[in-house]
C-alpha cells in the first residue's frame, strides 16, 4: 500500500471519511458524530477506515500523507451560543458599534420582538483612549492609563478571549499591536483576536463583528484542533493535518486556530469543494449544488468551474465579513411541517419536525405531516429501505398524520401529500432563483447537482420549476463533502484598504500595493507548503455614490500597462454590467480594497469512481455489493417484486412499486449501484442508493454516465411539449 490521503467531514448525524491511495483506490467509512467532542467520532471513523484497509490504525496513520478535515466546532459554538466569554477593547466614544448593527433590523412588521443580545455585553465593551485618522496618522496617541483601566476591568471579568478593534486600524495597526502586546504580557492565557490581523479592511462594523466572532469561537476551535492533532500524532500520523476554511481552501491547524471565524462554514465548504470537483470530472463549468437535509436546503453556485465567493455573509445573525463560499440556506427540508393557519392558509415550513420527534413516519410521536411523510405516501420513499434499511419508516403513522391534515383541508390523502411536495419544491426553487439573480446569472444555463440525503427526491421537480434542463446525481452524493475536501487547495488571503490614502490611485502605486500583498501571501504559504504557488489578485471597488463594493477578479490584467488604472477600472465597469445590467463609465470609481490569494495546488487526486467502495455494509468487495440479487430483495418485502431484465437491453430494475406521477403508476425502482454506464431510463422511475432516492417524472430521461452517476435530461429540454 502506498501513501494515503484522508478526508473527514463531521456532519450533524454522521462523520464521513474517505481515503484515497496513490492508485486512486477509494474507501469510505461512516461513524456516528459525537457533538460533545467531535474528535471521538473522528477517531472511531478512522478506526473503521483502518479496519477496511485491513491495517492497524497506527499503521494507516503512519502511511497517511495528509488529512483534510471539515469541522463544525465554530459553527456549533455560534449557533448554540456556547462560545467564549469575550471582552472588547475599542476606540473610546465608539463602544456600541457591535450592538448598533448599522441600524438594521429584520422582520419589518414585527415590532414586538426584543433586540438580540450582542456577543459581547456593553459592560465588557471597553473604550480605550486613542484615535487614528483615515490616512493612518495619529490623532490621539494610545493612552496607557486608559489601557491600564481596561485591562484591569478585563482581569476582573474573567474572560477567555479579548477582541481588539480600533477605528482605522486597517490603515495603521500600531495601537492595536501595542495593545495586544500588553495583553500578552498581562493576560497570557486569554485568546486574543486583533482586527488588523483578522480582517484589515475599512468598515468598522464588519471588521469589529468579525473580530468578535473570531474571539468568541477561537478558544473552542483552537482547543479542539490542538487535541485532535495530538491524538492523531500520538496515533502515529506523520503527515499534515489541514482544515477546510469557509472560502473552500485549506490551511494548517495553527492558521485555523488563529482565524477561527474562517471555519464557520468549514463543513459545507467540503460539499462545495466536492461539487467543484464534480464539475471538473463532468467537464461542466456551471453547476448549482443543491443539498437537501432534514431542516434546510443549502444552495451554492459554481460558475465557470469556480465556486462563488461572498463577503456578505454571516451566521446566526452575526456578521462575518471574511470571504467565504456563497452558500444560501433555505428553511426547507425533509422535516419541514405542513400547517394550517387561522385563515385556512396552508403552509409547509419553515417550522421543522427536527430530529425529534421528526416526521410522523419516524414513529416518534410526530403528529403533523412533514415533507418526508408526503414523499413516503407518494411512493417516492420506501418504508423498508430508508437510509439503507437502518431506519424503517412507520407508514401507518404517516397515513394518520396526512389523513388528519387532509380532512381539515377537505382533500384526499394523495392531494394533500402532493400539495406538500409541490409547495416545498417551490420554496427550494425560490432559494435558487434568488441566489442566481443576486449573481446576475440565468439558472437555465446551469445544471443542478443533487447531493445530500433528500435532494434526489426534489431535484428534478425543482429544476423543472426553474426551467433548468439537466440534473446530475453523483453516486456518492452522501459523502461528497469528505471526498471534495481532498480536492481542495491550500489558500491564504491578504487584503489592504486603499481608500482614504488621499490622492488618486496611480498605476505605480497599484503595482506596489499588489506586489507587497503578493509577497506577504507567498511568504505565508511557503511556510505551509513546498509545492508550486500561484496567486489570484482581485479588488473591491465601487462607484463614488454607492455604499457597497463589488469584488472584481484581476486575472487578465497586464500589470505593466501604462494605463493600468484605467484597465482595472474597466474590469470593474464590466463586472458591474454583469451583475446589475449597466455600467457608469463617466462616474468616479473608488478603489477600496486590494486582495491577493496565494493558492498552493495539491497534486490532482487520482480518481477512479469505479473503484469506490460504499460507506455502509460489511467488508465485502465491490462485486458482492453490486450484485443485484442477494440481500437486496429482503429490503422490499411487501411492495417489491423482482423483475427480469428488460428486453431492450436496459439494465434490470430491482423492483417496482406504486408511486404518484399524475396519478398512481407502477414504476421501476433501480438500485443505483447496479447501473451500468451507458444505460438509459425513461421516467417515471425511481433510483435508490444507500442514503438517497432519486425520482424522475414522465418524459424525463436518466442516463448513467461513465462515472456511474445519473445524468438526467428533463422533458421540456427534450421536446417543446
Amino acid at each position: 500500500m502506498t501513501s494515503l490521503r484522508i478526508g473527514i467531514d463531521v456532519g450533524g448525524t454522521f462523520t464521513d471519511l474517505v481515503a484515497v491511495d496513490a492508485d486512486g483506490r477509494t474507501l469510505f467509512a461512516k461513524s456516528p458524530s459525537t457533538p460533545q467532542d467531535p474528535s471521538i467520532g473522528v477517531m472511531a471513523g478512522l478506526d473503521e477506515l483502518a479496519r477496511r484497509h485491513g491495517l492497524p490504525l497506527g499503521e494507516m496513520l503512519a502511511r497517511t500523507e495528509r488529512i483534510v478535515h471539515g469541522t463544525t466546532v465554530a459553527t456549533n459554538a455560534l449557533l448554540e451560543r456556547k462560545g467564549a466569554r469575550v471582552a472588547l477593547l475599542t476606540t473610546e466614544g465608539h463602544r456600541d458599534v457591535l450592538e448598533m448593527r448599522e441600524g438594521l433590523k429584520d422582520a419589518r412588521y414585527d415590532l414586538r420582538v426584543a433586540p438580540p443580545a450582542p456577543l459581547v455585553p456593553r459592560r465588557l465593551r471597553l473604550g480605550v483612549r486613542e484615535r487614528l485618522r483615515p490616512d493612518g496618522t495619529v490623532e490621539t496617541a494610545l493612552d496607557e492609563a486608559s489601557l491600564d483601566a481596561a485591562i484591569a476591568a478585563i482581569r476582573a471579568a474573567d474572560v477567555a478571549a479579548v477582541a481588539v478593534c480600533y477605528l482605522h486600524a486597517y490603515k495603521n495597526p500600531a495601537h492595536e499591536i501595542a495593545t495586544v502586546e500588553r495583553l500578552a504580557r498581562e493576560l497570557p492565557d486569554v485568546y486574543v483576536s486583533r482586527s488588523s490581523d483578522v480582517l484589515p479592511q475599512i468598515k468598522e462594523y464588519e471588521r469589529l463583528s468579525t473580530t468578535v466572532v473570531n474571539a468568541y469561537v477561537g478558544p473552542a476551535v483552537r482547543r479542539y484542533l490542538t487535541n485532535l492533532e495530538r491524538r492523531l500524532r500520538d496515533g502515529g500520523l506523520a503527515g499534515n493535518l489541514f482544515i477546510i476554511l469557509s472560502h473552500g481552501g485549506m490551511a494548517p491547524v495553527d492558521e485555523a486556530g488563529r482565524l477561527a471565524a474562517a471555519t464557520v462554514l468549514s463543513g459545507p465548504a467540503g460539499g462545495v469543494a466536492g461539487s467543484r470537483r464534480c464539475a471538473q470530472l463532468l467537464g461542466i463549468g456551471d453547476l448549482i449544488p443543491f443539498d437537501v437535509g432534514g431542516t434546510s436546503t443549502d444552495i451554492s453556485l459554481i460558475a465557470g468551474g469556480e465556486a462563488a465567493l461572498s463577503s456578505e455573509r454571516g451566521l446566526a445573525g452575526e456578521r462575518i465579513a471574511l470571504r467565504s463560499l456563497d452558500i444560501a440556506s433555505v428553511a426547507a427540508g425533509g422535516g419541514s411541517l405542513a400547517q394550517l393557519d387561522a385563515g385556512g392558509g396552508f403552509h409547509v415550513g419553515p417550522e421543522s419536525a427536527g430530529a425529534v420527534p421528526g416526521p410522523a413516519c419516524y414513529g416518534q410521536g410526530g403528529a403533523a405531516p412533514a415533507v418526508t411523510d408526503a414523499n413516503l405516501l407518494l411512493g417516492y420513499l420506501d418504508a423498508a429501505t430508508f437510509l439503507g434499511g437502518r431506519r424503517p419508516l412507520d407508514l401507518a403513522a404517516a397515513e394518520r398524520a396526512m389523513d388528519a391534515m387532509a380532512e381539515r383541508l377537505r382533500l384526499t390523502r394523495d392531494q394533500t401529500a402532493l400539495g406538500i411536495h409541490r409547495l416545498i419544491n417551490l420554496k427550494m426553487a425560490d432559494g435558487i432563483r434568488l441566489m442566481t439573480l443576486r449573481r446576475g446569472v440565468d439558472p437555465r444555463r446551469f445544471a443542478l447537482l443533487s447531493f445530500g440525503g433528500g435532494a434526489g427526491l426534489h431535484a428534478v421537480e425543482v429544476a423543472r420549476e426553474l426551467e433548468i434542463p439537466r440534473v446530475i446525481v453523483p453516486t456518492v452524493a452522501s459523502v461528497l463533502s469528505a471526498w471534495g475536501m481532498l480536492a481542495s487547495d491550500l489558500r491564504y488571503e491578504v487584503s489592504r484598504t486603499h481608500v482614504g490614502d488621499g490622492g488618486a490611485m496611480t498605476g505605480a502605486r497599484m503595482q506596489d500595493v499588489f506586489a507587497e500583498l503578493e509577497r506577504q501571501a507567498r511568504a505565508r504559504l511557503t511556510a505551509w507548503f513546498d509545492g508550486a504557488i500561484r496567486t489570484e489578485r482581485s479588488a473591491e471597488m465601487r462607484y463614488g455614490e454607492q455604499v457597497f463594493e463589488i469584488d472584481v477578479a484581476l486575472g487578465d490584467i497586464d500589470w505593466q500597462a501604462p494605463d493600468l488604472v484605467a484597465r482595472v477600472e474597466e474590469c470593474f465597469h464590466r463586472r458591474h454590467e454583469d451583475l446589475y445590467t449597466y455600467a457608469s463609465r463617466g462616474q468616479e470609481v473608488v478603489f477600496v480594497n486590494a486582495r491577493v490569494a496565494a493558492v498552493g495546488a495539491v497534486p490532482t487526486l487520482e480518481h477512479d469512481p469505479k473503484r469506490w467502495t460504499p460507506a455502509f455494509g460489511q467488508d465485502h468487495a465491490r462485486g458482492e455489493v453490486l450484485r443485484p440479487d442477494g440481500d437486496s430483495t429482503k429490503n422490499h418485502p411487501a411492495r417489491a417484486q423482482r423483475e427480469p431484465p428488460a428486453p431492450d437491453g436496459e439494465a434490470p430494475a430491482t423492483a417496482r412499486r406504486r408511486a404518484y406521477f399524475d396519478g398512481w403508476r407502477d414504476v421501476p425502482v433501480h438500485r443505483m449501484e447496479t447501473l451500468a454506464p451507458g444505460a438509459a431510463f425513461d421516467g417515471p422511475a425511481i433510483f435508490e442508493a444507500e442514503t438517497t432516492t432519486v425520482v424522475i417524472g414522465e418524459g424525463d430521461r436518466a442516463t448513467v454516465n461513465e462515472l456511474g452517476w445519473l445524468d438526467i435530461a428533463l422533458r421540456s429540454s427534450l421536446s417543446p411539449a
Binding site: 466614544g93 465608539h94 456600541d96 458599534v97 450592538e99 448598533m100 448599522e102 441600524g103 438594521l104 433590523k105 422582520a107 419589518r108 412588521y109 414585527d110 415590532l111 414586538r112 420582538v113 426584543a114 433586540p115 456593553r122 459592560r123 485618522r133 483615515p134 490623532e139 477605528l167 482605522h168 475599512i202 468598515k203 468598522e204 393557519d341 387561522a342 385563515g343 385556512g344 392558509g345 396552508f346 383541508l409 377537505r410 382533500l411 392531494q415 400539495g419 409541490r422 409547495l423 417551490l426 420554496k427 425560490d430 432563483r433 434568488l434 439573480l437 443576486r438 481608500v499 482614504g500 488621499g502 455614490e545 454607492q546 455604499v547 457597497f548 451583475l579 445590467t581 449597466y582 457608469s584
Partner: protein, 552 residues
C-alpha cells in the same frame, strides 16, 4: 370563504405571488442606480388588481404598504384603454401619489385579452426638481416649489417607449443620469413581474388565479378578524403632536378616534388640526397608508399585507386637515411626518383595546444635510446624515431596540460606516455611541438614541439644512411607560454660545472646526416604571444605559 379553488392551489398561487414580488424587489435592488434605492432600499413592490386591490406586496418600507392601491385607482380612473406593453408613470400626491419624490411605475398584466393585474414599482428619487435638492424644502408654501408633478402618464405606448417624455422628466431633475437609471430599473423590475405573472396565468388560467386571489383575500381577512375580535370593543382616542410646521405654528395635533366593534375598526382622523402652509401636510394616499401601517404593526407580523387583511379597517378623514391637505399644498415631509404621528395616535388609541399588542413610540426623523468643500480633494460634497438613529419603542416582548430608526423605517435603513464617512468626507466622528438615559422608562425601557459629536473639518465655511421633527415631542410611552427623550441637536462653534438646531432650517452657516452635537431621541417605554424588575434596573446601570438616578 370562497370555495372555487382548493387550499393547495390557493397556497401555490399565494406562494408564487409572494415569490414574484420578492424577485422584483431583488431585481430593483440590483439594478437601481442611486444610493437611496440600492442601499437605503427606499422602494416598494406590489401587485394590484384592476380594482386597485393590493394582491401582494414585498416587505420593504412599511410607509408604502397601504399607498399603492390609491395610486392604482388614480391610474384606472385616468386610463380606460390600457393596452399590453403600456407603462404608466405617476407621482402626484393629488393624483393618488404620496409625495413627489416617490415615483411609481405600473405595467399592466393580461391574461389573453383580459387585463387582470398591475405590476407596480415605487421608488424614492434622489431628486425630483423643485427649489431644493432632494425635494425636502422647509420653505415651500405650495407644491410647485417641491418638484415636478407627474399625473398618471403613459410612458410606454403598446411596447413603444416615449423617449421624449423621459427626456422631459430627466431634464427637470438635477441628476438626469441617476433619474434615467433608476427609472429603467423600475420599469425593468415591473416587466419582470409581468413576465412571471404571465407564466402564472399560463399555468393555472386567469380565472383560477383570480379565484385563488379572492380566496387569499378571504383567508387574510379571516385571520385578521380573528385577531381583532379578541380586542376590547369601544371607542378609543389617541393623539400625537408635530413639534411645529416651521412656519410659525407649534404643536400641530393629530387625533385618532378609533371605534372597535366586533372585528371591525373605524379610524377617524377628522378632528386633527387644520392643514399647514408648509411641507408637514399629508397627502390623502399617505394618510391612508399610515393608517394601514399602524394596523399592520398591531396584527400578527406574518399575516400577508393585502386587500383582505385591511378589509376590517375603515378610514375617515376630512380634507383640509393636516392629515389630508387640499390640492396645491406642499406635502414632501409627509412620509415621515406626520406619518409617524398618525401611527402613534392610532396605536395610542388602540392600546386601550389591545394593550399587549400596542408598542411604545419609535423615534422621529431629524435629518441634517451638509454642503461644502473637502480640503483634501478640493471637491464639493453633499453629506446626508443617516447616523445617530433614534431608539425604538419598547413592547410586551422587552426593551426597545437602540439606534434603530423611526416608525416609518423600523430598522430598514442602514447608516453606513463611520470610517468610510471619514475617508470620503471632511468629517470627524469624535463620538458615536448610545446616549444613556435617552430611552423612556417603563416596565420595558425604550431603546436608546445616539450621542454623536461630529467635527466639521472643512477649510472654508459650509452650509447645513435640517428637516424633521421630534425635538419637542419624544416618542410616546405606552401604558404608563414614559416618553423617550426628544432629539436635542446643537451646533458648537468656537467663541459662540451653543446654538440649538431647529428641525426645519435652511442655510445654517457652519464654520471650520464646528461641532454638531447630535443627541437623537430614545424610544418610548412600555408599562409603568414601577413594574420594571430590579434585575433589569441593575443591568441598565451596569451597562451604562441609565445613570444611577436617571431615566427619561
Amino acid at each position: 370563504m370562497s370555495s372555487a379553488v382548493d387550499p393547495i392551489t390557493r397556497s401555490v398561487v399565494e406562494h408564487r405571488l409572494s415569490s414574484i414580488v420578492t424577485e422584483m424587489g431583488e431585481a430593483m435592488l440590483r439594478t437601481s442606480y442611486s444610493q437611496i434605492l440600492n442601499s437605503s432600499r427606499d422602494f416598494s413592490i406590489a401587485i394590484t388588481d384592476t380594482q386597485g386591490r393590493l394582491v401582494a406586496q414585498a416587505d420593504h418600507i412599511p410607509v408604502h404598504v397601504g399607498a399603492l392601491p390609491w395610486a392604482t385607482k388614480a391610474v384606472e380612473e385616468r386610463f380606460r384603454d390600457v393596452a399590453p406593453g403600456d407603462v404608466i408613470l405617476m407621482n402626484d400626491p393629488y393624483h393618488g401619489g404620496s409625495h413627489l419624490p416617490d415615483l411609481t411605475a405600473f405595467v399592466p398584466v393580461f391574461d389573453g385579452e383580459t387585463r387582470l393585474f398591475w405590476a407596480v414599482v415605487r421608488a424614492h428619487q434622489s431628486d425630483i426638481g423643485g427649489s431644493t435638492y432632494g425635494g425636502y424644502n422647509p420653505g415651500a408654501t405650495e407644491i410647485w416649489q417641491e418638484g415636478l408633478r407627474i399625473p398618471p402618464i403613459r410612458l410606454h405606448e403598446a411596447g413603444r417607449p416615449r423617449d421624449d417624455l423621459v427626456d422631459l422628466l430627466a431634464l427637470n431633475t438635477r441628476n438626469g443620469r441617476d433619474f434615467r437609471g433608476d427609472l429603467a430599473a423600475m420599469v425593468g423590475a415591473a416587466h419582470l413581474g409581468e413576465r412571471r405573472l404571465g407564466r402564472l396565468f399560463a399555468e393555472f388560467g386567469g380565472a383560477t388565479v383570480m379565484d385563488a386571489v379572492a380566496s387569499i383575500f378571504d383567508a387574510a381577512e379571516q385571520r385578521t378578524r380573528a385577531i381583532v375580535a379578541e380586542w376590547e370593543d369601544g371607542v378609543f382616542e389617541g393623539e400625537a403632536f408635530l413639534d411645529d410646521d416651521g412656519h410659525g405654528r407649534q404643536d400641530l395635533r393629530i387625533h385618532a378616534r378609533v371605534t372597535k366593534r366586533g372585528s371591525d375598526i373605524t379610524i377617524d382622523l377628522s378632528d386633527s388640526d387644520e392643514q399647514s402652509t408648509s411641507f408637514v401636510n399629508s397627502s390623502h394616499a399617505n394618510m391612508q397608508s399610515a393608517c394601514m401601517m399602524a394596523f399592520a404593526f398591531l396584527i400578527d407580523p406574518d399575516i400577508p399585507k393585502n386587500a383582505g387583511s385591511f378589509r376590517p379597517v375603515t378610514v375617515v378623514a376630512r380634507e383640509g386637515t393636516i392629515v389630508w391637505a387640499e390640492p396645491g399644498r406642499p406635502v414632501t415631509m409627509c412620509t415621515s411626518h406626520p406619518s409617524n404621528e398618525i401611527v402613534e395616535a392610532i396605536v395610542k388609541a388602540l392600546s386601550q383595546s389591545c394593550p399587549a399588542r400596542a408598542m411604545a413610540g419609535w423615534g422621529r426623523r431629524f435629518r441634517i444635510a451638509l454642503q461644502g468643500e473637502d480640503p483634501r480633494t478640493g471637491r464639493s460634497f453633499i453629506w446626508h446624515m443617516f447616523h445617530a438613529r433614534p431608539g425604538g419603542g419598547a413592547s410586551v416582548a422587552g426593551d426597545g431596540w437602540s439606534s434603530i430608526g423611526e416608525w416609518h423605517t423600523v430598522g430598514g435603513l442602514k447608516f453606513g460606516s463611520v470610517e468610510f464617512a471619514e475617508a470620503r468626507f471632511p468629517l470627524h466622528f469624535r463620538r458615536h455611541e448610545f446616549d444613556p438615559d435617552s430611552g423612556g422608562d417603563g416596565r420595558h425601557r425604550g431603546g436608546l438614541g445616539v450621542a454623536l459629536d461630529l467635527v466639521v473639518e472643512t477649510a472654508e465655511p459650509a452650509l447645513a439644512n435640517t428637516a424633521g421633527d421630534g425635538a419637542r415631542h419624544g416618542a410616546c410611552g405606552m401604558l404608563g411607560g414614559h416618553d423617550g427623550r426628544p432629539h436635542a441637536y446643537r451646533l458648537l462653534s468656537a467663541g459662540q454660545p451653543p446654538r440649538t438646531l431647529r428641525t426645519k432650517e435652511v442655510g445654517i452657516a457652519v464654520r471650520p472646526g464646528d461641532v454638531f452635537e447630535v443627541r437623537s431621541g430614545g424610544g418610548g417605554g412600555w408599562g409603568p416604571p414601577s413594574e420594571r424588575s430590579a434585575a433589569a434596573r441593575a443591568r441598565d446601570v451596569a451597562e451604562d444605559l441609565v445613570a444611577a438616578q436617571g431615566g427619561a
